[in-house]
């Protein structure tokens, strides 16, 4: 029996491929194989002989089977190795391309602003961009022929001769949304109103269209000191600089009283602007306490309610924060600019995830 074992184990070890191995299996442990034939002979043996030869034959069969299985695996592994060796690819070739889209800085910054003000309880209000002159001017305490009207470089819409209404305007600021929002919601109210505004001005630093965000908070006891706090909180969050300072300077807007222009702290070092440090100031927005006539025009009783409003340029904020030099390029759609200053689609600014990218 030992001869038998040796014969087949060495045959298995020498088998060169799966077919040869299968032949050996049939010869050894197949139905008519040598081991099987021997097992048939067990019946002719005495019980004593059988007790010795039976287990021995079973053990031999098991041993040959596991040797066959092991060899089969080894052969398969070798064959796989051989195949893999031929399947080499140049993995330094580029991956399959996928277009990279971008979000425009104006959209990104608008979302940043909305996220900060949402935390302070300001909803987002909207209004039409073609406005009546009543909403754009009169309701904001700028009656016809008020000298302030001329300072806006207003775009007027065409008016048919038969139509005697004053011409509509392209809104020169987001402030008419104040009136519309208060008419709709009354007081108390807290809203911001971002969007496109238009002025007839085109040079190095002006474009005939740009973006503003209006802020409005009306309640029973809101003061200008609250406005200062809100703006400082906003700038700290927006520029991600703790303790950023603002400076209020007396100014005049027909729709606020008192009015202030607001500067933020900055420094100029070697022509580099840095926000939130240094002794210089940069004007960033106009603001004030909403004029009683504006509240009245929107149907809010100025004896009961008061509050602040402000307006600032979104494009300007984007330029300051992200170091974008030229306003005009915002609206030129130069692919190189869009890719360089744009934001990834999933970079959604949130307070918990951070506002800057």
């Amino acid at each position: 029996m030992d001869d038998l074992k040796q014969k087949y184990l060495s045959a298995i070890a020498d088998a060169g491929d799966e077919a040869a191995l299968e032949d050996i299996r049939v010869q050894a442990v197949g139905k008519k194989g040598e081991v099987s034939l021997k097992m048939r002979e067990l019946g002719k043996m005495t019980p004593e002989e059988r007790q010795v030869a039976g287990p021995a034959l079973n053990a031999l069969k098991d041993e040959l089977n596991s040797a066959l299985a092991a060899k089969k695996t080894a052969l398969a592994d070798a064959a796989l190795d051989e195949r893999l060796r031929t399947e080499w690819l140049d993995v330094t070739l580029p991956g399959r391309g996928r277009g990279q889209g971008t979000i425009h800085p104006v959209s990104q910054v608008s979302e940043e602003i909305a996220a900060i003000f949402a935390n302070l309880g300001f909803a987002v209000a909207e209004g039409p961009q073609i406005e009546t002159d009543w909403y754009n001017f009169d309701s904001l305490n700028i009656p016809p022929h008020h000298p302030a009207r001329q300072e806006f470089d207003t775009f007027y819409m065409h008016r048919d001769e038969a139509d005697e209404r004053p011409p509509h305007v392209l809104r020169t600021h987001t402030s008419p949304v104040q009136t519309r929002a208060m008419e709709k919601q009354g007081a108390p109210i807290r809203v911001i109103a971002p969007g496109r505004v238009y002025r007839s001005d085109y040079d190095q630093t002006h474009t005939p269209m740009f973006h503003q965000v209006e802020g409005l908070a009306i309640d029973r006891d809101i003061s200008m000191a609250n406005l200062k706090w809100v703006l400082e909180e906003f700038f700290a969050a927006f520029f991600e600089i703790d303790g950023i300072k603002t400076r209020f300077r007396a100014s005049h807007f027909p729709f606020t009283e008192p009015s202030a222009e607001v500067d933020i702290q900055c420094s100029w070092v070697d022509g580099q602007l840095k926000i939130g440090e240094g002794d210089d100031w940069m004007e960033v927005l106009g603001s004030g306490m909403v004029h009683p006539k504006v509240l009245q025009a929107a149907g809010v009783n100025p004896d009961e309610w008061q509050g602040f409003a402000f307006g600032m340029g979104i494009d300007r904020l984007a330029m300051l924060k992200y170091g974008i030099p030229d306003l005009r390029a915002f609206f030129d759609s130069d692919l190189r600019w869009l890719r360089h200053y744009g934001f990834a689609s999933l970079d959604v600014p949130t307070l918990h995830g951070g506002l800057s990218r």
Binding site: G99, S107, I130, H252, Q306, D332, S333, S345
Partner: protein, 799 residues
């Protein structure tokens, strides 16, 4: 508004430095825009004395001088005829920058003689045009700074010029005295009193004045004047010329300069007529329209109807309150002058000024509102000045109309400052501020000074108090959040949709653009716009004349610009308003994407291919899915004319409800807009997608079937113009309970099928719900599918 420091000090007694004054001005709301300090460019020059002057050995006109300076004696070569021993001169040393010749000096060598600097003329230091010789000073010590000498002896030459921005409410600060008043209120000094001369009339004015009845209301409140006869006009004195020049005005003659002086000193525009050229009396009246006048600027103006003008017997002589006429203007020869001080209606001035497009100092002030109470006294003040400068004899004053009564008072509520501004300012300080600004306090009523037409209510009092106290001192106070709870979301569903649509487009590979809302008429017309209702009355250029009817023309223009820069494969999108008309609200939100060229650059995997309509369709569907549009929509043709007629589809819920559109752009549109194709695009209107009805966040339960699904493939031969969706819908309708999904996996056109035929292959997925499907069940469904499809499309199962 420009003024000089010395002019300011005519009205303000102050020890404050220039910097302190500048800071206070800006802080008070009179924002300093520019300061020109002539001392700064003269800072390096010192006084020196010429000890000897000898003839240059090699040049007839040059002298070699020995000059005593603070650094010892220096040799300087000088060509000035007045260079001689003993005179005190202004020395520019090597290294100094000399502004008048734009040169930084170095040690020179002039015809063989070294020269260590130069002695300057007035022109070389930009002090005047004088260049006949070098400056000879009547006094001064060697080494003294020239600026110090000027400050002591000729202060006007080193007078800083300050330019401030005037907000529309601060007409009072359009005169130097008004500016001084603000600074005094801030505590920077005391107001100097002004003389109030009264000149007795020596004879009745031969020129009378009247205001037509229809010109009183909204025209002219008061028109006062007087004749001064026997004046000698000519150049005004140097001090006056200097002042006017310093603020950028050209001195003309004494009489005209007097009017300009009062314009800027007291915000009181005046006019002077040459009385000998006025025929008869002066009458203020409404224009009929079409009259013409040559103004002092020598331009001809044609009046609109209803403007206000001043006429004599010859016709119109002055654009009232805006500009005088050339014909009756004063010249050097004027001997009899008629002086006018009037108060005009501000709105009338603004209207006429705008109609005639005149921007004069007089219009600027008269339309903002001058101090109406300073009228008769202004006549007296100006008369006195004319008599002082030109001599002559004044008539009595003639007046038409009357000085308007603008007196009014508002209650000062001291607590209001605290409540509105959030600053604590004691009541006594508030009252003092108002008093210093010219308000008259009577109990707690503040009577508004006549020069502050802008103060119209108690809130204005708060503003005055706060700005004088300085808003810079305002300390922030937290604004309580409306609730202590977690803040609620603030976006409306549509705003949220807009954000998602935008970010979905970007993640599909599109670059977001923000293009102008206005485009040229031709492009607008290509996209269904360009009507007059959407036209701007005053566009900045013809390229920006109409509100855009759609976002695609702007994107196509952007694409053309990028193609010109060498970028041929583009994926651009924009999300914003398009305008359907010219009324407020005739705008709607749109998101449009534009694909041009190939899907990407040539690549090793060979996946780059020309973009086609199915790219645009997939992107439109992705955006729609992201904003919650129902998965099943209909596709209709017959979209707008800018699409390829056979290669576009409108994604609809019913024939009226268009959610979006996709397709290839019409080749003619591309050619017109100079864009090289292929170009496909999509548009989605987020507002048109129905808002979900459900309120709860809970999803419906997930139904998972244990029974195995079965898939069967079918191929149908149909006519080439049969739409695949018809076939799919027919197949899906064969057994709605059992058929889970129908997918198209192949299309084959022509070939062995013959002309006008195509084959569409679909996979139908059957999902049993109760028992495993047996072959006969499947065959029954298959037969039904074939029957339904044949009925719907006329197609046959492909053998």
């Amino acid at each position: 508004m420009k003024f000089t420091l010395s002019w300011l000090k005519e009205h303000l007694e102050t020890e404050a430095s220039l910097d302190e004054i500048l800071y206070a001005l800006t802080d008070l709301g009179l924002e300093v825009e520019e300061v020109e300090d002539p001392a700064s460019k003269l800072a390096s020059f010192t006084l020196a004395k010429v000890k000897h002057a000898e003839q240059h050995p090699d040049a007839d006109r040059l002298r070699v001088c020995t000059v005593e300076t603070d650094e010892g004696d220096k040799q300087i070569v000088c060509g000035a005829p007045n260079a001689r021993a003993g005179i005190t001169v202004v020395l520019c040393k090597p290294g100094d920058y000399v502004p008048g010749i734009d040169v930084t000096l170095s040690v020179g060598n002039i015809r063989g003689v070294e020269s260590h600097g130069m002695m300057a003329s007035e022109r070389e230091l930009e002090l005047s045009d004088e260049h006949n010789g070098i400056i000879e000073l009547p006094s001064g010590e060697v080494g003294q700074k020239f600026t110090d000498w000027l400050a002591a002896n000729d202060p006007a030459k080193v007078d800083p010029v300050i330019d401030i921005a005037i907000t529309p409410n601060r007409q009072d600060a359009l005169g130097v005295r008004g500016i001084a008043r603000d600074l005094a209120a801030r505590g920077l000094g005391e107001m100097k009193p002004v003389d109030e001369p009264r000149v007795e009339g020596q004879f009745p004015s031969p020129i009378k004045v009247t205001i037509d009845d229809d010109a009183r209301e909204g025209g002219c409140e008061v028109f006062a004047g007087r004749l001064i006869r026997g004046v000698k006009n000519g150049p005004s004195p140097e001090w006056l010329q200097q002042r006017l020049r310093a603020i950028g005005l050209r001195p003309i003659s004494a009489l005209v300069d007097v009017t300009n002086f009062f314009t800027f000193d007291r915000n009181r525009p005046l006019h002077v007529f040459d009385a000998d050229k006025v025929k008869g009396d002066l009458r203020v009246h409404r224009t009929k329209g079409g009259e013409t006048l040559i103004g002092l600027d020598e331009k001809e103006y044609t009046f609109p109807a209803g403007a206000v003008a001043i006429s004599d017997d010859n016709g119109i002589e002055s654009i009232a309150g805006i500009m005088g006429g050339l014909e009756t203007g004063c010249t050097e020869e004027t001997v009899n002058v008629f002086l006018e001080a009037a108060v005009w209606d501000t709105i009338q001035i603004a209207k006429t000024g705008r109609a005639l497009k005149i921007n004069s100092d007089a219009r600027y002030r008269n339309e903002r509102g001058i101090d109406p109470a300073y009228n008769l006294q202004a006549i007296e003040d100006a008369t006195q000045m004319i008599l002082d400068l030109c001599g002559g004899e004044a008539s009595t004053v003639v007046v038409a109309g009357k000085v308007p009564d603008v007196s009014r008072a508002y209650k000062l509520d001291a607590a209001k400052v605290q409540s509105l501004v959030g600053m604590e300012i004691p009541e006594s300080e508030q009252r003092q501020t108002l008093t210093r600004l010219g308000f008259r306090m009577e109990g707690n009523m503040a009577h508004v000074p006549s020069w502050r037409p802008d103060v119209q209510g108690p809130a204005d009092l708060v503003e005055e108090v706060a700005r004088v106290a300085s808003l810079t001192k305002l300390e922030p106070i937290p604004l309580a959040r409306p609730t202590v709870s977690v803040p609620k979301p603030t976006q409306t569903p549509l705003q949220r949709r807009e954000t998602i649509a935008r970010r979905t487009a970007a993640s599909l590979g599109y670059n977001e653009c923000v293009t102008y809302s206005f485009i040229d008429r031709k492009s607008a017309e290509l996209f269904g716009g360009g009507a007059d209702a959407t036209m701007l009355d005053n566009p900045i250029s013809s390229e920006m004349s109409h509100m855009r009817p759609d976002l695609l023309p702007g994107l196509l223009q952007a694409a053309a610009r990028n193609q010109a820069r060498g970028f041929s494969d583009l994926a651009l999108f924009e999300c914003g308003p398009a305008f359907t008309g010219g009324e407020p609200g005739e705008q709607r939100l749109q998101i449009s994407g534009l694909l041009i060229g190939r899907t990407g650059p040539k690549d090793v995997h060979g996946q780059s291919r020309a973009v086609d309509v199915y790219d645009a369709k997939a992107d439109a569907e992705a955006v729609l899915a992201a904003i919650g549009a129902p998965a099943k929509a209909q596709i209709f043709r017959n979209g707008e004319a800018w699409w390829h007629p056979g290669r576009h589809g409108q994604i609809c819920l019913g024939p009226k409800k268009v959610l979006g559109v996709f397709g290839e752009l019409h080749p003619k549109v591309l050619a017109e807009m100079d864009v090289k194709g292929p170009a496909v695009a999509f548009t989605v209107w987020p507002e048109n997608v129905p808002m979900p009805k459900k309120k709860s966040a809970t999803r419906p339960a997930l139904e998972l079937r244990d029974l195995q699904a079965v898939e069967r493939d079918f191929a149908f031969v149909v006519d080439a113009d049969v739409e695949a969706l018809t076939l799919v819908n027919a197949a899906a309708g064969a057994d709605k309970a059992l058929i889970d999904e129908v997918r198209i996996f192949d299309q084959f056109i022509g070939g062995s099928l013959g002309e006008g035929k195509k084959s569409i292959a679909i996979t139908v997925r059957l999902q049993p719900t109760e028992k495993t499907l047996k072959e006969k069940d499947i065959e029954a469904v298959a037969a039904k599918i074939v029957e339904k499809v044949s009925k719907a499309t006329g197609g046959t199962l492909r053998g």
